[in-house]
């Protein structure tokens, strides 16, 4: 009886080693699963965040251009085929039978910072500026600076923000790029057709 009680009081070295190995294996698996799940989650979050940022920026640009007068778009011609800066004036309403326009506004790509900025009264006293998004790619997704239409969208060497003016309709193309989880680069592109509601 006494011998059996002593044996129950501890573990043998072999038992301890086996237990430690099993615990190590289980913990290792847990850590690996947690890490990969966490990485996947981070990546998905980064993607979702970038997509949301892209959508919100395009929505802002679209809303601004919808309220713009088509005749106020500068440059108003499709030469060269795209522009990375667009100036316009929004319509504020009608007074004494005449349409009243707001202050001149501009949406512009700052390639050096990878930013899309909005300016009110650019170059004038009282100029206002806001950054609408960052992480803008230098060139649109799939495009290289080689004088060739690499991505087959009809534009050559277009920048990460490109406006194409077709009468009262503005085609807006935007690519955002950011470092994702695991040093992978996330790149998203959206295109939108916006019709200026004011002539």
């Amino acid at each position: 009886m006494a011998a059996r009680a002593r044996r129950r009081g501890g573990f043998t070295l072999l038992e301890t080693l086996i237990a430690l190995t099993v615990v190590g294996l289980v913990l290792g698996n847990i850590v690996m699963v947690t890490r990969s799940t966490s990485e996947a989650y981070d990546e998905e979050m980064s993607k979702a965040s970038l997509e949301l940022q892209l959508d919100q920026t395009l929505d802002r640009i679209a809303l601004a251009l919808m309220a713009a007068s088509a005749s106020s778009l500068q440059p108003g011609v499709a030469t060269p085929a795209f522009h990375s800066t667009l100036s316009y004036a929004q319509s504020l309403g009608v007074q004494d039978g005449a349409v009243v326009h707001g202050a001149p506004e501009r949406i512009s790509l700052r390639i050096e910072n990878g930013e899309v900025v909005w300016l009110e009264r650019p170059g004038e006293p009282g100029e206002r500026m806001a950054t609408w998004t960052r992480s803008v790619r230098e060139f649109l997704e799939g495009e290289l600076q080689n004088g060739v239409d690499d991505n087959g969208n009809g534009l050559v060497d277009e920048s990460g923000l490109a406006f194409v003016i077709e009468g009262p309709i503005v085609r807006v193309l935007l690519t955002l790029e950011r470092e994702g989880a695991g040093d992978r680069r996330l790149t998203y592109t959206r295109e939108s057709l916006v019709r200026c509601r004011n002539s």
């Binding site: 989650y41 919808m66 309403g93 004494d96």
Partner: protein
């Protein structure tokens, strides 16, 4: 004793495992809650973004519906914040405000889910009636030497105006001579009123030419009315060259060519509607408009050829008597003689009473010709000493004519912060309205009690008429409104 010690040690170990397990479960649980919270936040942002877009689209739908309401003679108001119109899973309402005569501001609010958007559109309502355009050259107006454009008020009575030699701007009626391009006045030409060029146009005055009113450009271009073709039975060609007098009356027909030969007279007796591919009045031929019993509406689709020496006669001298609508366009050899013919050749002598509308053609009134009523053309040219007297009694246009609604200004209206903050999960809860009790847009038009007289085309393409109280008319049956008259009901 050993037994008790062993029992105690065993109990202690079981508790340790329990605590460790609890800690692990709590840690994993906490982590899961954090992840779920992050995920749901992202989801909420995405849903909010989608809801905002849906609300924006609903507000756009509201504006379109409001425009249609104005076009069909309603005020433009649809529903209200207390009783909005139901549309899909969301709702909208439109508030219309008359900010100037015939200038209406529409403000549409759309709500879907947690999204809310408000858009504003200012529209101008113009009559589709051609007489309402006044005196217009949509591309250009050119007045020859000593030509004159003025206005008078017939008051709906017949007879040519007694024009003063010297116009008194303080007592006289001013004309609005319009163009979407330039207006040129030759030597000694006179415009008694405003000469209004297009937004990019200007007024050029030759020596001693005079405009008594403003020459400021129009802020926006003047829109032209659409000529709606008449649906008439075919009548073949009508050639009247017997040297006699012939009267056309009763049911109108769609003729190929109407030709009035030398020393022949063709009388168009109203009420009459007719159309012709070509209308030609030859030298010494006479076209007479008899509108004693009703108006005459004449459509010419390919060629109006009033040759030199032809005569127009209007015994009733009633500016409401004739509507001559010429849709002809483009110059080509129309009579096969090898020379190019313009779509309109207007070399008749006499006077014209009525509305003359040739939106695609150059119309040159000959030397000394007098036109009473309204005239519009792509290029309007008055020969030397020609005169146009606009009858302001036509200014309101045909009250039964439908209206065109042109957009002037569109913008997004900012939503007040306190409203945006208090938006619930669905718009019906936010506005405390029952979804089932809300009306669809077509039934949510503001109904003012009017006496309605409307000609319309229903969904099956059948021409119909309705006369009665507006509240008794179901607007969803009217696909196209041909004519509309609305009178406010007066309480006896």
């Amino acid at each position: 004793m050993r037994r008790e010690l062993h029992h105690h040690a065993s109990t202690s170990r079981r508790g340790g495992v329990l605590i460790a397990t609890l800690v692990a479960v709590l840690a994993v649980g906490g982590l899961s809650v954090c992840l779920l919270e992050l995920d749901s936040t992202r989801l909420r942002r995405q849903v909010a973004s989608i809801d905002n877009k849906r609300a924006f689209n609903l507000a756009e739908a509201g504006l379109a519906e409001g425009r249609f309401a104005v076009e069909t003679g309603h005020t433009g108001t649809i529903g209200s914040a207390e009783a909005p119109a139901r549309f899909g899973d969301g709702l909208f309402w439109v508030t219309a405000t008359e900010i100037a005569p015939n200038v209406i501001g529409l403000e549409s609010t759309g709500m879907a889910g947690t999204g809310r958007a408000t858009l504003s559109l200012v529209v101008r309502r113009t009559s589709r009636d051609v007489a309402a355009l006044g005196v217009l050259g949509s591309q250009q107006v050119v007045l020859g030497k000593r030509a004159r454009v003025d206005a008078y008020d017939s008051g709906g009575e017949r007879g040519a105006p007694k024009l003063p030699e010297r116009f008194d701007p303080t007592t006289g009626v001013a004309v609005e001579l319009r163009s979407n391009g330039d207006i040129e006045l030759g030597k000694d030409a006179r415009v008694f009123g405003d000469a209004i060029p297009g937004p990019e146009g200007s007024v050029e005055l030759d020596d001693d030419a005079l405009v008594t009113g403003s020459t400021a450009p129009a802020p926006v271009e003047t829109g032209l009315a659409v000529i709606e073709p008449l649906q008439l039975e075919s009548g073949g060609d009508l050639v009247h060259a017997s040297g006699t007098r012939r009267v056309l009356a009763g049911d109108g027909k769609a003729y190929g060519e109407i030709r009035v030969g030398k020393k022949s007279t063709l009388v168009l007796r109203g009420p009459l509607q007719l159309s012709a591919t070509r209308l030609r009045v030859e030298d010494k031929g006479k076209l007479e408009i008899d509108c004693a019993s009703g108006p005459v509406e004449l459509h010419v689709t390919d060629w109006l050829d009033l040759q030199n020496g032809s005569l127009l006669a209007f015994p009733d001298e009633d500016t409401r008597g004739l509507r001559l609508l010429v849709s002809a366009a483009g110059s080509r050899d129309r009579d096969g003689n090898g020379s190019i013919d313009a779509p309109v050749r207007f070399q008749a002598s006499g006077s014209f009473f009525g509305s003359l509308y040739a939106p695609n053609a150059r119309l040159a009134l000959p030397h000394g010709f007098q036109l009473h009523g309204a005239v519009s053309a792509a290029i309007l040219q008055l020969g030397d000493e020609a005169q146009v007297h606009f009858d302001i009694a036509l200014r309101g246009g045909d009250p039964t004519a439908s209206v065109a609604v042109d957009p002037l200004a569109w913008k997004v209206v900012e939503i007040p912060r306190e409203i945006a903050r208090d938006l619930a999960e669905d718009p019906f809860t936010t506005l405390a309205v029952s979804k089932d009790e809300l009306k669809p847009p077509a039934q949510a038009y503001e109904v003012a009690e009017y006496e309605l007289d409307v000609d319309y085309v229903d969904a099956a393409g059948v021409e119909r008429k309705f006369k009665g109280r507006e509240s008794e008319f179901d607007w969803k049956h009217a696909k196209v409104v041909r004519k509309l008259r609305r009178r406010e009901e007066k309480d006896d």
